[in-house]
Symmetry: C2
Subunit: 467 residues, 2 copies
């Protein structure tokens, strides 16, 4: 609170006090004396400190929020917005780590362990350009017409074949092509969730999903993750008491914990969903990145009762910019899912669907995933070995995926702050809890960092402990 | 009801009656004795006719719905689904006319006056392929990264310049790039509409928008369209009584009526929104297609109080497959709009945004719109002249846009049916009312039909009256 002591509000000038206070706080934010995502003082606290009416503070805060300097997180308080990157969303979540192209230029000198998005050097640009050209030659104007809301049929067929390799035996008539996993979560919410319905999420989880459920007016219940998956007893207690419509899970290489559900847990989860008449939303974004771990099958592959809505994202294992994902729907809601897609954005880009289809058909996808696995496995080993060397850290090995969930003796919020000062970005554990609670963990990913930079980056983290 | 008289349910076999009834109705649908979008008998009516319990009919209908043979429209009844085109949405609306590529092959021999989507022969495929190639050469992997949720900054800047030409003076910081107008309507709903809020739509209107509002739990109120725009008195009566959050309008070449609001009406509408603290959602899809009509300015150009959310669609004047549209947001909700976009699908395709930006910057867009205006003006004149020749029709000239709203002495539902038999598709007026009510009008568009085909198609319509 020290920084706020120097604020002086003049009784004797015409300008209202709340405007004066607004100007003073704005200056503090602009000169970075208070920094993006710092918590602002409470209204009562600041009013007392400055010896003004709380209404003055309320009005100043309102104005700051209107102008985009601060944002309010329900239940948590008021925080400084990242006004310089003024296109960013106004709450602290996983998505904050997905650096857009423009923003990543600012971060170029930083070593970015905080994002799960693959680095640009991994993109198969040349191959994809070739299939794009081929599609434009082959299809001409057809490539720019509306596509069926459900997606380009040949792509649905090639995806159906690919999913069979992953153990999911789904007819292409149950497969939809959508504009990324985030849209999938949005569509499922539209079809299943009504105001005041209950939704279970893992704790910790991808809060970008929870934000969608919340926007639908859902009541969100967190259920803990254990070493082998969601806590089944805790889940059943919730299901007994509440009428839960949807259970949102990432059963393989979970985000952020990296945990893979055991087969037993997977089956138990499906059984519970069946027993309590809930749907499961499986967000599969990393099943392919597997370094010989057993049991890494999608939940959908075990879904004997057609309760699992399966979303396969390509943003974390391919190029996020193509904005395509796959949704496999239980039969009895598949028509409604297509209707929701049509109402949401008519259909996803036909051009990119045609190109991606050709990319799969020409065997380029299989080859790409194989190469990516090799690259990621080398990075994985390097990062694991480097992390082990830091005595203040401990973690379970995920044996796949692209990130570690690391427990730190040093408070991770401080660690994140100090690491950034040293030029390294990591994701604080609290970003994966709905209430932003304090948490002993952080998430560190090698998606955008090669082996040399892994060594360099973790060295810089180590320096924090040496100081 | 005659057709249902022959249904025979056997008391003496093991198969439950509702299964027998299901099978019988399924056969009628499959052999097209009852046709897609035909209304099914009421439950009570059919139960009485067949002398069975209503539960039997309920269960048979449930099964038919589950299997996709029929669909229920709340408040309207039960209808036969278009099972053959099983990827289609399950309610009768504007979107039903947006033929996807696959489906249009079935309709190839038909003359399609029912869609507003431009024909493929108008697409500037060669030019767009050239800018795509140029972007891939220029930007490489950057073309496939995440883009800011708000959109690719250079595109926002070139769109801002373009909008200035249309009278909208908006800084690029208030402009978002979205995946089509439909998504824009969805995003606005997420930001502004909560369960039980009221939304005003024009009557008749684009029911695809109303479907989104409904999905948000909104209470939808229709206000009539007059010759010079929405009925201001009727609107004010509604605004007085209800707490209306949003007014959804298409002020230029309205869909389906083709009406353009007078400048007075436009100003009156903005004034009412200001007085009653509502937002206006302006869906602008045809302002560019103007044959010397005066006063065709976007509402947003007159928006003195920052109440208009402006969506500019390119699907009806460019290539629908690129799935890009522009949203100009009032300042005080612009952050929330970006957040909603991020939560909905992270961002729109960066590749297509980059290509579209280059397309505009190289002057190709301006040239394309000029050419399109010439082509459409010729078609317009031809269609007008041909329609005038049919004495049973009457209409107001829109002097722009791509469609006519025609009053017919012959019931348009019959007309649509007979026209289809003759190989011509037109859109029945009832498709533009929320309750699918009987209506004396139909919508006829030349978006996909050249001058020769216009003559041929309208000739075939004329034959219906001669018979």
């Amino acid at each position: 609170m020290k920084i706020y002591e120097n604020i002086y509000l003049d009784e004797n000038i015409q300008e209202p006090k709340y405007i004066q206070l607004y100007e003073a706080l704005k200056s503090l934010i602009e000169e970075r004396s208070i920094r993006p995502n710092d918590k602002m003082p409470t209204i009562r606290g600041l009013a007392k400190k400055l010896n003004v009416n709380t209404v003055t503070v309320v009005n100043a805060y309102k104005l700051l929020e209107q102008k985009g300097y601060i944002y309010t997180k329900v239940g948590s308080g008021t925080f400084v917005a990242d006004k310089l990157n003024n296109n960013k969303i106004n709450f602290f979540s996983e998505n904050t780590f997905e650096s857009s192209d423009e923003e990543s230029q600012d971060n170029e000198k930083l070593i970015n362990f905080s994002t799960l998005t693959p680095g640009k050097e991994l993109f198969p640009v040349k191959d994809f350009k070739a299939v794009l050209d081929e599609v434009l030659e082959r299809d001409g104007a057809d490539a720019f017409t509306y596509i069926d809301a459900q997606g380009y049929k040949p792509l649905r067929k090639s995806v159906s074949d690919y999913l069979k390799e992953c153990g999911i035996d789904s007819d292409f008539s149950n497969i939809s092509i959508i504009s990324g996993a985030q849209q999938g979560i949005d569509l499922v919410s539209k079809v299943l969730i009504e105001f005041n319905d209950s939704v279970v999420v893992e704790s910790p989880t991808y809060t970008g999903a929870a934000a969608i459920f919340k926007n639908r007016g859902a009541n969100i219940i967190e259920v803990s993750i254990r070493e082998d998956g969601i806590d089944i007893n805790e889940l059943e207690e919730v299901l007994k008491k509440q009428n839960v419509k949807l259970i949102y899970v990432m059963p393989n290489f979970q985000n952020p914990t990296g945990i893979t559900y055991s087969i037993d847990k997977k089956l138990a989860l499906i059984n519970l969903a069946q027993k309590y008449n809930a749907f499961i939303l499986e967000d599969d974004f990393l099943t392919e990145i597997n370094f010989n771990k057993k049991g890494v099958v999608p939940l959908k592959a075990l879904d004997f009762c057609d309760r699992v809505i399966y979303i396969k994202s390509f943003s974390k294992i391919f190029m996020p910019g193509i904005r395509l994902a796959v949704l496999v729907s239980p039969f009895n809601i598949s028509r409604n899912m297509i209707l929701a897609k049509q109402n949401t954005d008519i259909s996803s880009s036909g051009l990119l669907q045609r190109a991606f289809d050709l990319y799969i058909r020409e065997g380029l996808w299989d080859k790409y995933i194989k190469d990516l696995n090799n690259i990621y496995q080398n990075r994985y080993k390097k990062m694991r070995d480097e992390l082990i060397k830091i005595g203040d850290f401990s973690f379970e090995e995920p044996h796949g995926g692209i990130h570690f969930w690391v427990k730190s003796n040093l408070n991770p919020s401080i660690l994140v702050y100090e690491a950034k000062k040293n030029g390294v970005l990591i994701a604080p554990g609290r970003a994966f809890y709905l209430d932003n609670r304090e948490c002993e963990f952080f998430r560190i990913s090698f998606a955008q960092v090669n082996e040399n930079e892994i060594i360099k980056g973790i060295d810089k983290i180590r320096e924090i402990f040496v100081k």
